[in-house]
């Protein structure tokens, strides 16, 4: 879809990045013109044996001159930093109400899953104008989710979730690349992002084969994997209740406090001895090796759905 000489600006972030790029290109071009201009001028004017003026150096070429351009350079760079950093900070967190898409990377394919359970491979359909939050993890090595047209890139790391987000502003199909070297077919680990109108997206989504949404899959796993044996409200085992847990601050037995986010819930399943909730015994077994990354995402979605229902009550 790309033309040879230009890259579409297809997201809100793309416009910001290209703005910074333009200023840096101008600053660099001016600096290069200055340095090359001076070198060429001096090289011609002061070539050996030319009759240009030599003699004593003018007063201006002194220490203060040196301090001056050092300070000027520093302030220019500090300004560039501040400007680029503020654009970065502005784009750190996805807006609330963003569409959530789960991405699972493996050698050498991208699996994406929409909130309603629709799955795609090496493809992602998204509506235009809606922020889309990507929650990503890898099943094997480190990959990197790179959509040049959106100017986004985020490494996808095994053993943890990483996130990025975008808001598409142009309809069309845009290439998706794996940008972190991941072995033999790294260069074949490509996909396509299709940006559709909101109504087309809704139609597309409903036409996808029926798949349970993540929370429903998680609810089934919650029973089949035995979680409910301890964590269900009816259980006799003394285990933390999960209703309303998501997003809450949890008091741990060693005095620390943590926020119950995706990473915490994941760690609690895989390394339950690490963060013991205050008032409970460390009796939970680790589920490392028993749950794959997709199942952990589903269980996390289920626990989150418990929290939301609590909130509505």
């Amino acid at each position: 879809m790309n033309a040879i000489f230009t890259l579409p600006e297809a997201s809100t972030q793309a416009v910001r990045v290209d703005g910074i790029l333009a200023v840096l290109v101008i600053v660099s071009a001016l600096t290069l013109a200055l340095v090359f201009g001076l070198i060429v001028t001096f090289a011609i004017r002061y070539r050996r044996g030319s009759d240009a003026k030599r003699g004593p150096l003018p007063e201006i070429v002194n220490r203060e001159f040196e301090v001056g351009w050092t300070a000027a350079t520093f302030f220019l760079f500090a300004f560039l930093f501040w400007w680029a950093a503020s654009a970065d900070v502005g784009a750190l967190t996805a807006p609330a109400r963003a569409l959530e898409v789960h991405v699972l990377a493996k050698q050498w394919m991208w699996k994406t899953q929409h909130a309603n359970g629709a799955r795609e491979i090496d493809e992602l359909h998204v509506p235009i104008g809606r922020p889309v939050r990507l929650v990503m993890t890898s099943q094997d090595v480190i990959h990197s989710f790179f959509v040049p047209a959106f100017r986004i890139k985020q490494d996808v790391v095994p053993g943890r979730n990483t996130e990025t987000w975008f808001q598409a502003t142009k309809l069309g199909v845009f290439p998706l690349f794996c940008a972190e070297y991941c072995g033999t077919n790294h260069s074949a680990m490509r996909g396509r992002i299709t940006v559709m109108r909101e109504d087309e997206y809704a139609r597309w989504l409903s036409a996808q084969p029926e798949g349970d949404d993540l929370a429903h899959v998680g609810a089934k796993l919650f029973v089949s994997e035995g979680c409910s044996g301890c964590h269900a409200a009816s259980s006799g085992v003394h285990a933390p209740k999960l209703e309303g847990l998501y997003g809450r601050t949890v008091q741990l037995s060693d005095g620390r406090q943590v926020r119950a986010d995706d990473a915490y819930i994941r760690d609690s399943m895989l390394q339950p001895k690490r963060d013991i909730v205050a008032g409970f015994e460390p009796i939970m077994p680790s589920f490392a090796g028993l749950l794959d990354d997709g199942e952990i995402q589903s269980l996390t979605a289920y626990i989150r759905s418990l929290g939301q229902e609590q909130g509505h009550d």
Binding site: L7, R16, R54, G55, F81, A84, I152, D155, S187
Partner: protein, 557 residues
């Protein structure tokens, strides 16, 4: 009247120079003369340079077409990995320090040898052992991790010879450390009477700063590789997330070495250029003390910017902000150096011998590479262009455009001193200009391809990037030819070159006060120093119109 000419006229027979002080193979392989060890290193890294070059030539030929035409993806991955490992650890890191640093450091400070001559020889043998591991890795089938050895790919997923490749780098790292220790001790202990710190030539300062970085950073590389070996070979859980490990930890360790390693590669190049420009402009180096502070600042701050390689790795966004700021800060001393080199040309008497062409080329290419570094220090831009050809272009501008240009500049500048022979100047100028244009043809298009989104380490690529790859590959052919030229005419000059005098360029610096080539212990009389370097003209004046003899009389004693 030079020393060499004097020696010829004296009534007793000429004493043997270091090249003729022994002619058996053993006299070379067991030598402790820093100059002979420099030659051993030069031969070794030349072999590695052309091995790494051959690997990337195959890669560039393959990339002429979007879907490849003669390599499998596995072979392609092994070729670029081999290129990176060889070029970084077996060429760039030892290039200027271990050849010219070894040869020149004692000469420049007026010492008979380095502080630990046997350690010096030992470090060459370590390089050789590391090299044997690297060549074994290649012969056995190669390694496909890239030069970065990222986990968990390197520890759990690659089916190639990661262990021997890591061992190669591990061993050659200790050669770096040994050399660094040696140079630090030499600079502290063996300076000639009167050679105070602020009378040291910039090349000595740059080698000194580089040595400190080598000694402090390289052990961390050894640790990272040791951990990779421990997990891959012994199965210890270190980076494997399924067993509580953290794959990102490896990146922190690796870049804690590998970012300072960039300065190991470029600081000596800055030192070389600071010697060449004053000599061929017949000017004092502008702002000598600022140049010293800049080198020290770069070496110091260089330890605190490693996180800018990891903006998209998932590290804390607040950490990223700090690393971004420090990356802008470290650009300041680099910019100062560029301004000072440029200002050193002002009111000079500039001649364009090939060392000067390489030095001016260095300033241009380093400036371009440095400015592209500002893009990468800006987080939003870096997020878009990291792991693309933009980054490839950026670091090749610094390491190849910068360091390799300076290496060739140094090779031509000190060739008469090292070999006692003059090289053919027109050929050398032709090669320097060809190299400059070949380099830009190769790497300038990669900035654009990268910004348009072409990821690095891609064997196949979308068709819209082909035009840039064809340009790059065509430029690489020019560049390869330019690298082969010096091999030919320099070798020719060994046998047919005119005899070099002690100081053919009329340069200041103690190394030019002895004969070419120098005697085994460098100086017949202990040199004394009573002035700062680069006294090409009187204080406050500009380039002298004095004849070289008058200038020499002022700068030498």
């Amino acid at each position: 009247m030079t020393d060499a000419a004097l020696a010829d006229e004296l009534p007793f027979p000429p004493r043997a120079d270091y090249l003729r002080a022994g002619s058996t193979l053993l006299s070379w392989l067991a030598t402790t003369d820093h100059k002979r060890i420099a030659i051993l290193y030069a031969l070794t890294i030349t072999v590695f340079f052309f091995m790494g070059g051959a690997a990337i030539t195959a890669v560039r030929v393959e990339l002429f077409v979007p879907n490849g035409w003669f390599l499998s993806s596995d072979t392609y991955n092994r070729l670029f990995s081999f290129h990176g490992i060889i070029m970084v650890w077996f060429f760039l890191v030892p290039s200027i320090p271990n050849t010219f640093g070894n040869f020149l450091l004692p000469l420049m400070i007026g010492a008979p040898d380095v502080a630990f001559p046997r350690l010096n020889l030992f470090s060459w043998y370590l390089t050789l052992v590391g090299g044997i591991f690297a060549v074994y890795t290649l012969v056995a089938g190669g390694v496909d991790t890239g030069w970065t050895f990222y986990t968990p790919f390197s520890t759990m997923f690659s089916n190639t010879h990661v262990l021997t490749a890591a061992a190669a780098v591990f061993v050659v790292g200790f050669a770096s450390i040994a050399t660094g220790v040696n140079f630090i001790a030499t600079t502290h202990m063996l300076r000639a009477p009167g050679m105070t710190w602020f009378r040291l030539p910039m090349f000595v300062w740059s080698i000194y700063a580089t040595s400190i970085v080598m000694v402090l950073a390289t052990p961390v590389l050894a640790i990272s590789l040791m951990l990779v070996i421990a997990e891959r070979w012994l199965g210890l859980p270190i980076f494997d997330p399924a067993r509580g490990g953290d794959p990102i930890l490896f990146q922190h360790l690796f870049w804690f070495y590998s970012h300072p390693a960039v300065y190991i590669m470029v600081l000596p190049a800055m030192g070389v250029v600071s010697e060449i420009i004053p000599c061929f402009a017949r000017r004092r180096l502008f702002g000598y003390d600022f140049m010293v502070y800049a080198i020290v600042a770069i070496a110091g701050i260089g330890f605190f910017v490693w996180g800018h390689h990891m903006f998209v790795s998932g590290q804390s966004p607040y950490a990223s902000l700090i690393f971004s700021f420090l990356s802008f800060v470290i650009a300041v001393p680099s910019a100062i150096k560029v301004f000072n080199w440029t200002a050193s040309l002002y009111r000079g008497q500039i001649s364009f011998n090939s060392p000067m062409l390489y030095a001016l080329g260095f300033v241009g290419l380093f400036t371009t590479g440095g400015l592209s570094g500002l893009f990468l220090a800006s987080i939003p831009i870096d997020v878009h262009v990291t792991d693309t050809y933009f980054v490839v272009a950026h670091f090749h501008y610094i390491m190849v455009g910068g360091s390799v240009s300076a290496f060739f500049g140094a090779l031509h500048f000190w060739w008469p001193k090292i070999t006692g022979k003059m090289y053919p100047e027109s050929w050398a100028q032709f090669a320097a200009i060809t190299m400059y244009f070949g380099f830009n043809m190769t790497f300038l298009p990669q900035f654009v391809a990268g910004y348009l989104g072409m990821p690095r380490r891609y064997h196949t690529y979308p068709a819209e990037f082909q035009v840039y790859n064809v340009m790059s590959s065509a430029g690489a052919a020019v560049l390869a030819a330019a690298y082969l030229l010096p091999l030919m005419y320099l070798t020719w000059s060994l046998f047919h070159g005119l005899r070099a005098s002690g100081n053919p360029w009329g340069a200041t610096g103690l190394e030019w006060t002895t004969t070419s080539p120098p005697p085994p212990h460098n100086f017949d009389i202990q040199p004394l120093v009573d002035r700062p370097p680069y006294q090409y003209h009187a204080e406050g004046q500009s380039a002298g119109t004095d004849s070289p003899e008058v200038q020499n009389a002022r700068s030498l004693r």
